[in-house]
């Protein structure tokens, strides 16, 4: 039986209509974990559910079919059994399961490789499992190791560098002009999924004032209300502000905004040179204008003003493609880090077996005995010294008898988590990790 396994589905193995049947909200995941904890099938469990994957990492206690068991619990919580065949689930055991979690945390398994949210999602999943008390020695160590791997890949490679969506590219560009988006005002002209996503991303990154300009004021008010409550309202209610204006109010509005996103279906320029050139020229400070509309909403001549940074959808697309290419080039580097850490984790896990610990403990006591015999033995005759050696050997054996018997027993009968916890305690009590590090090879 494997010591650690993972079963799950992801965007690579299942279409969205199957994934959504297994996607678990935070409270649902907590209830699934509570159900798992009440039974004795998994010794430890960690449940990760995002829009792209639902997977459970577990330390099995019995030979029961983990997939059927997990789906039962999901069905109990959701009230309906997910319509997912066993063939779309993947299962990885031991080192492969470790590798899988490290790859997930490093964002190598994400739909957009290098995206930043996954590490936070793994952390949330871990906190949920800790609250549900379904983690112990093995998953605690593994998950913290995975956090480090995710962080290492992020800092040592370009896997997460740059923006990978039009919305993120808007934030990226804004951050090259403004050191902080706090206190900045965003003007959203028109509507549309991409423009709203860009406005949402800017607000989520710190901008705290939103003005929506639309042909119909009612639509502008509705959109301003929705976006403000969805983003800034949640982050900084007391500072947040949102207002709506008609398209004819743009000339007087643009003087007081820092970022403009336009996406109307007007079919002709909405931000025109005669209307805005003078206002923009005389305003203090830079303004970033992102024109997502096709045909374009912004008169290209406005981009010639010294304090105007104008980008259209092609510019953003070029930036995103360049960033994705950079990320792609760094995948081998990230994979090498993951493989290295999988090897290290494997060595750590092997050191937590009972046999090497017993051997190390015996060596440790023998070293202490020899050190003291060498130090004090000179005061004794040869015969007394031999007796002293026999006496101290017997004493060491006696001291070690109970811990060694316990370790052997745990090795034979106990669940991996229980054994790991016991071995870990012994190693900490006798500082065996430091001793192992000192040994050659």
């Amino acid at each position: 039986m494997a010591e650690l396994s993972v079963i799950g589905i992801s965007h690579q193995t299942a279409p969205v209509e199957v994934r959504e049947g297994l996607a678990l909200a935070s409270d649902e995941a907590a209830r699934v974990l509570a159900g798992i904890r009440a039974e004795n099938v998994f010794d430890e469990a960690l449940l990760l559910s995002t829009c792209n994957r639902t997977e459970v990492y577990f330390v099995p206690r019995t030979e029961a079919d983990p997939l059927a068991y997990f789906l039962d619990h999901v069905a109990r919580v959701k009230g309906v059994r997910p319509a997912a065949g066993a063939d779309i689930f993947y299962r990885r055991d031991d080192a492969d399961a470790v590798r899988h979690l490290f790859r997930v945390a490093a964002s190598l398994e994400s739909q957009i490789v290098g995206e930043h949210e996954i590490l936070g999602q793994v952390k949330d999943a871990y906190h949920l499992a800790v609250e549900a008390r379904t983690t112990s020695a093995l998953l605690n160590k593994l998950t913290h190791w995975a956090f480090r791997v995710g962080k290492r890949v992020r800092t040592e490679t370009d896997l997460g560098a740059g923006s990978a969506s039009v919305a993120a590219a808007a934030v990226d560009l804004a951050r090259h002009i403004f050191s902080s988006l706090e206190g900045k005002t965003v003007l959203l002209v028109g509507a549309g999924q991409t423009a709203e996503a860009a406005a949402r991303a800017l607000l989520a990154s710190g901008a705290d004032h939103l003005i929506v300009a639309n042909r119909t004021l009612h639509r502008a008010q509705q959109l301003a209300y929705d976006l403000a409550h969805e983003t800034i309202g949640r982050a900084a209610t007391e500072r947040a502000a949102a207002e709506a204006v008609g398209l004819d109010a743009i000339p007087e509005t643009i003087a007081k905004v820092d970022l403009v996103i336009t996406s109307t279906a007007a079919g002709q320029a909405v931000l025109t040179w005669p209307d805005l050139a003078e206002v923009l020229r005389t305003r203090r400070g830079a303004v970033l204008i992102i024109d997502i509309a096709v045909p374009r909403d912004v008169d290209a001549r406005l981009g010639s003003l010294d304090n105007v940074y104008l980008y259209n959808i092609d510019d953003l697309d070029r930036l995103v493609r360049r960033n994705l290419e950079r990320r792609r080039q760094d995948i081998p580097k990230a994979e090498a880090i993951v493989e290295y850490e999988v090897g290290r984790f494997g060595r750590w896990l092997a050191s937590r077996q009972a046999a090497p610990t017993i051997r190390l403990l015996q060596q440790h006591l023998a070293t202490i005995q020899k050190k003291h015999i060498d130090r004090y033995g000179k005061q004794f005759s040869q015969a007394d010294r031999t007796q002293l050696e026999q006496f101290t050997q017997a004493m060491c054996k006696q001291i070690l008898h109970t811990p060694l018997a316990l370790l052997k027993e745990l090795s034979a009968d106990a669940a991996p988590s229980e054994r790991l916890a016991a071995v870990d305690l012994v190693r900490r009590l006798f500082d065996l990790d430091a001793l192992e590090d000192e040994q050659p090879g």
Binding site: D158, A161, G162, L173, R175, H176, I177, F178, S179, R284, A286, G303, D306, N307, Y309, Y311, D315, R318, L319, R322
Partner: protein, 270 residues
């Protein structure tokens, strides 16, 4: 002592070069941008020790000619940058500032090679009270204006890159415009004030010496006045005309070139 000074004179540009390579790697290879470099502080301390030793050995403050001043400028530039790095925890602009420090020190070391342990031909005017009151603000001005030049140049590079939609190394690595712009502006303002004090004291300095209007003195007066006017125009433009940061940065770069010309001319004529 003479040997020690000779070794120090030879070693200092090398140390700045090593720093430059380290900061170059940070910038171009995107390594450890938030890590503070202990080596920078080591080099600054070593440089300070070298100048103190040299001052003790030759018996005067080593700022009597342009080549000695260049070494002090290298130290001041590196020292101020070390402070900026400690405060901002961002070492991305280090390569540009330290390039300047390296060039200052390299120039100084090359021109002092073989006579680093010997006193220069010090004019009586160079050691008087007015001289000291001129030299200190002048050094502050040179350093601040060097910073204004470097950060102004970085601002212009990023500003133009963003306007031309170029997404290259500079786009990835440079701090945002509203960090670079104010840095250039504040450095320019500091440099201008210090330069004004140095220029105001300059006529009194002539009284310390023989009062002779040598070619060196005349060149310094002309170049210094030109640089002062350039910076004054920038400051008035910003205060009265609300000039944009790009124009102020252009002037900071131009002014720095004039100031460097001033230093070079006065060095060649000394």
């Amino acid at each position: 002592m003479a040997d020690l000074l000779a070794i120090g004179n030879w070693l200092l540009p090398l140390l700045y070069l090593v720093l430059l390579v380290d900061y170059g790697a940070t910038f171009f290879l995107r390594m450890r941008t938030d890590a503070r470099s202990p080596w920078l502080l080591v080099v600054v301390a070593a440089h300070l020790a070298f100048l103190v030793l040299r001052g003790v050995h030759i018996g005067y403050l080593p700022v009597t000619n342009a080549w000695e001043t260049a070494s002090v400028l290298a130290l001041a530039t590196a020292g101020v940058y070390a402070w900026v790095e400690l405060a901002s925890r961002d070492r991305r602009t280090g390569v540009f500032v330290l390039l300047l420090a390296f060039l200052f020190q390299y120039t100084s070391s090359m021109l002092l090679a073989g006579r680093v342990a010997e006193p220069s031909e010090v004019s009586p005017g160079a050691v008087g009270m007015w001289a000291r009151l001129h030299v200190v603000p002048a050094l502050v001005a040179y350093t601040a204006l060097a910073f204004a030049g470097v950060y102004g140049l970085l601002y212009l590079l990023e500003h133009r890159g963003l306007r031309r939609h170029r997404f290259g190394v500079l786009f990835d690595r440079l701090p945002p415009l509203d960090v670079l712009g104010p840095m250039a502006w504040h450095a320019l303002l500091t440099g201008f004030v210090a330069m004004t004090v140095a220029i105001a004291v300059a006529p009194l300095l002539l009284g310390d010496g023989d009062g002779e209007m040598t070619a060196k003195v005349i060149s310094k007066i002309i170049a210094g006045s030109v640089a002062w006017v350039v910076y004054a125009v920038a400051i008035l433009g910003r205060w009265l005309g609300k000039w944009p940061a790009s124009r102020i940065s252009t002037i900071a770069v131009a002014g720095f070139i004039v100031v460097m010309a001033l230093l070079t001319v006065s060095g060649l004529l000394s």
